[in-house]
Amino acid sequence: MQPADLEAALRPSVGAHLLGTEPFEGTAGRVRFAREGALDVFRAVKDRLGFRHLSMVGGIDWVDHREVFYVVWSDDARQYALLSTDLPAADPHVETASSVWPSANWHERETWELVDIQFDHHPDLRHLLMPDGYAFHPLLRSFKIHEPEDLEVKSRHV
């Protein structure tokens, strides 16, 4: 499967919310979509393209915005594909994938607590790795584990 195949299969049902596809080495390609079309993308990727196995959901804090990426696997094509969407840092929320792939449940819980991304209509958005009531999101870039001067020393390998 090539990025063009992904585009051709997704365009009819997703429409303008599909922002494009690009090659990604070792996979069928990467699909970029707008968060408004998230559920349409998930359904089409699973039912039309046959990516029935969701392997991983993760989040990246790019400081000015955040990114959620999904890795899916197709047993027929024996290929992975990546899906990703950008969210504004001020209001980072996206529809949950767990209604389409139940395996997204825990991955989204983890992404919510570590990268502070809200998953709408998630059945069970509780803390998973951090204790209940933990008020921080450790994988945000603003969460520092060293003092700045420690970092200086470390990067010089003194």
């Binding site: 196995h53 969701l54 392997s55 991983m56 890795v71 047993d75 395996s103 951090m130 010089r156 390998h157």
Partner: protein, 381 residues
Amino acid sequence: MSEMWINMGPQHPMTHGLWNLRVKIEGELILDVDPEMGYLHRGIEKISEDRHYNEVITLMDRTCYVAGLAWEHLYILAAEDALHITPPERAEYLRTMCDEFQRVGSHIMWYAAFVQDLGLMSPFLYGMRDRDLVLDLFQSYTGARMTYEYMRVGGVRSDLPLGFTDRARRVLDWLTARFVEYDQLCLGSAIFRKRCDGLGVLKATDCVEHGVTGPMLRSAGMKRDLRRDRPYAVYDQLDFDVAVADGADVTARYLVRMEELRQSVRMLRQILDWLDRHPGPAMAEELPRWLGAPYAPVGKEGYLLKRNYPKGVGFSSVEEPHGEAQAYVVNEGTEHPYRVKFRSPVFANISAARQYLVGYHVADIPPIMGSVDVCVGEVDR
């Protein structure tokens, strides 16, 4: 009878690590379960963001205590993908050998712990005895028995010591004979069969829905193995069969792992023969200076080189002893990875616990969770 929630864990012999299985019961019947994780969360993904690419390898050994080399391989593949580095072929063979020896060690460890959960003490001791031979081999070429730090971006740290392949073949001969005994001890035991047959059934469709991979998925009759379906390192040059069973229960998972042990031995013999015939470098020759050694001096010159770090995203996926592990490494042109994300197969396998535990009895939990092969270090990371 009234319903109630009980805690199995965080310190319970069944857990094999530090986690808590909350179980809702009515009498002996399991109505619902809710695994609680996070007791071993060390923030490996966060710590990696402050480390040099080669320094992350140290953390990979601590990710899973029975499969450190498999996790090193996973990370190395993603980092090499992000940094556009190709290792020499001999390094690829050495890494594959590490993976398969690690699988043998991990599955024997699983066997020992699993049968002990069932109350069979002798197989536990036999398992630990035989795994030690594999650890001795690791010690002879990596210098360590658990935290190896053997692989490097661009190759492996050192080549094999003299006489290693012959010693390894003798260990394989010994293990092959022991696998027959393992089967006699377990499959021939009526008590073992009564405690395992028909328990913890998870059909292939449910496995796929809930992200379950590895021996659990193959025990449901689905022939998916990344070593065959998406070959990495040198798996496309090795002759092996994918182990499957069709019971989808605890016994089927036992059968799959035992067959995988035999297949691993088969692959290892091919790899050892190849290594004997093809001496060569085990490290890429044209490495950027900042990757040549784990603590390369990064002074004035280092800052100049820093500008040349390529930007990119690396993605890798390996068939770890527990299932499919993935790494996603984002490189933003500095000496540290910008973001590292790992997928642990056990994480997904435990998240489906409700699917294979509800409807069974409390006494069935140790064999069922034992057959999942839990390693908490890689779940919590």
